[in-house]
């Protein structure tokens, strides 16, 4: 018998893949799951109870747009009653005051509001939804009025990289406690749109420096977290905090995933929460065990002194960029593919071309 893994800290539930927006940087899979396949209220509620018992502390109610679920308030209430800290990850589009009131009453702890641009024109273009900006402002006002903590999540790509300073101003104006400057990560729709989205290296580094300079000045007012664009990084990001180490994702239809893009890796079997308990999945699902810990690693990861910091980086990115899910993430400068990847990114950014494919159920994607 091997030791059971330490319990997960977070549960991210993609309650639905439905979303009013059409963001080209979306990390959802190209094959969006259909509404008819979504789990019912009862099953989600059971999953929340199992997650809390297993040791999860945070539940991230995500999607798609989670408030597209009619039972979102009921789900929030049950998750909160299970003792989970409830985080709503939303576009802020389409929430009535009534629904917001229901969510607050249900015990929602935090709202994370995405912005695609720091002004109306940029935001509405990249979100592919006219009028979204005003709706987001109205949503932010409802959150702060209710006294809930608000995080502004700014997804950064070439199209809005120049707006980082404006995003900081916007977050302050809206009374956010936290701002995420989240450079797009290239999975799913974002990978499809990479040529149209990836920012040039120099401007990216300037934007990172700008955030780092702003942080000390805003101490105590606004916490800024930054997700850097890892094609230009020196070290890879620890995917999901380490594969099967701290987080469980569940897809709309109940597939349990070590990270949201894990389905892109062929040959892994993802157990469904309809059939098994979360504790059984966490402990025994072969997909969670496939890259857990460090035993699966090869060089240069295996002997690297950062192997328990980066956890080898991202398996999905290793597969997408090198064709081998067990390779070192090429975002790492120790990867033999690193120089090629950085050069490819720079060339795509320099070309400043690429048609945007808006996220939708209807868009046909050729393999």
């Amino acid at each position: 018998m091997t030791q059971p893994p330490p319990p997960p800290i977070g549960l991210l539930v993609e309650l639905t893949h439905r979303c009013p927006l059409g963001c080209p940087h979306c990390s959802n899979p190209l094959a969006l799951e259909r509404p008819a396949a979504e789990l019912d209220t009862e099953t989600w509620n059971r999953v929340f109870g199992e997650a809390a018992a297993l040791g999860a502390l945070h539940v991230h109610l995500s999607g798609g747009e989670p408030t597209a679920r009619r039972d979102i308030a009921e789900l929030t209430r049950h998750a909160a009653e299970c003792g989970l800290y409830t985080n709503l990850i939303t576009s802020g589009v389409g929430l009535s005051e009534k629904l917001w009131g229901d969510l607050v009453g249900a015990g929602l702890d935090h709202a994370q509001l995405s912005f695609q641009g720091a002004d109306k024109a940029t935001n509405d273009r990249l979100g592919h939804y006219g009028g979204a900006f005003e709706k987001k402002l109205a949503f932010a006002a409802m959150v702060t009025k209710a006294g809930l903590p608000l995080t502004v999540n700014a997804v950064i790509s070439r199209a809005n990289l120049h707006q980082v300073e404006k995003f900081i101003e916007l977050a302050l104006e809206l009374g956010a406690r936290r701002l995420e400057v989240a450079h797009a990560q290239y999975y799913g729709w974002a990978l499809l749109n990479r040529a149209a989205l990836i920012p040039p290296r120099k401007e990216t580094e300037e934007a990172i420096a700008l955030v780092e300079a702003a942080r000390p000045k805003l101490k105590g007012r606004l916490v800024i977290d930054m997700v850097v664009p890892d094609y230009y990084a020196r070290y890879p990001k620890p995917c999901a905090g380490g594969w099967g180490r701290i987080a469980i994702n569940v897809s709309p239809s109940g597939k349990s995933l070590p990270c949201h893009a894990a389905e892109s890796i062929p040959g892994l079997e993802f157990w469904n929460v309809r059939d098994r308990s979360l504790s059984e999945i966490w402990r025994d699902n072969p997909a969670f065990k496939a890259f857990r810990g460090t035993d699966w690693m090869r060089e240069p990861c295996r002997s690297c002194d950062r192997r328990e910091i980066d956890w080898g980086g991202c398996r999905c990115q290793a597969l997408a960029l090198t064709g081998d899910a067990s390779a070192t993430d090429p975002a790492c400068h120790k990867s033999p593919h690193h120089a090629r990847i950085a050069a490819m990114a720079a060339a795509e950014a320099e070309a400043d071309a690429g048609d945007i494919r808006w996220r939708s159920y209807r868009e046909r994607i050729e393999a």
């Binding site: 319990p7 800290i9 018992a53 297993l54 040791g55 502390l57 945070h58 003792g83 800290y85 985080n87 702890d109 935090h110 994370q112 006294g147 809930l148 903590p149 995080t151 406690r177 936290r178 995420e180 101490k219 105590g220 007012r221 606004l222 916490v223 977290d225």
Partner: protein, 91 residues
């Protein structure tokens, strides 16, 4: 911003002190963050109810732990100041 003896510290909405039974420890749950809290810090945070002022909190802890108030105050101010800078405590 700075904490003085009349400050009435409290956890803002969206920040929760919770006993984590699975790991047998206290945690402070905040947006996208989890802070491990030792038993002493948990004892301080349980008194941060927005009613008691810092002087009251220090007096309570000094009595409980039979320690000099000045020493306790220094530790408590440092700890609460740190949490305030992280936006998980209000005064």
């Amino acid at each position: 911003m700075t904490i003085d003896s009349r400050s009435r510290p409290r956890l803002p909405r969206g920040v929760k002190l919770r006993r984590d039974e699975v790991r047998a420890r206290w945690t402070l749950l905040a947006p996208e963050r989890i802070f491990e809290v030792d038993d002493t810090a948990a004892a301080v945070l349980q008194l941060c109810d927005g009613e008691r002022d810092l002087a009251g909190i220090v007096a309570e802890l000094a009595g409980r732990y039979a320690a000099p108030p000045a020493v306790i105050e220094k530790d408590v101010v440092a700890m609460l100041g740190d949490l305030e800078a992280k936006r998980v405590l209000e005064t």
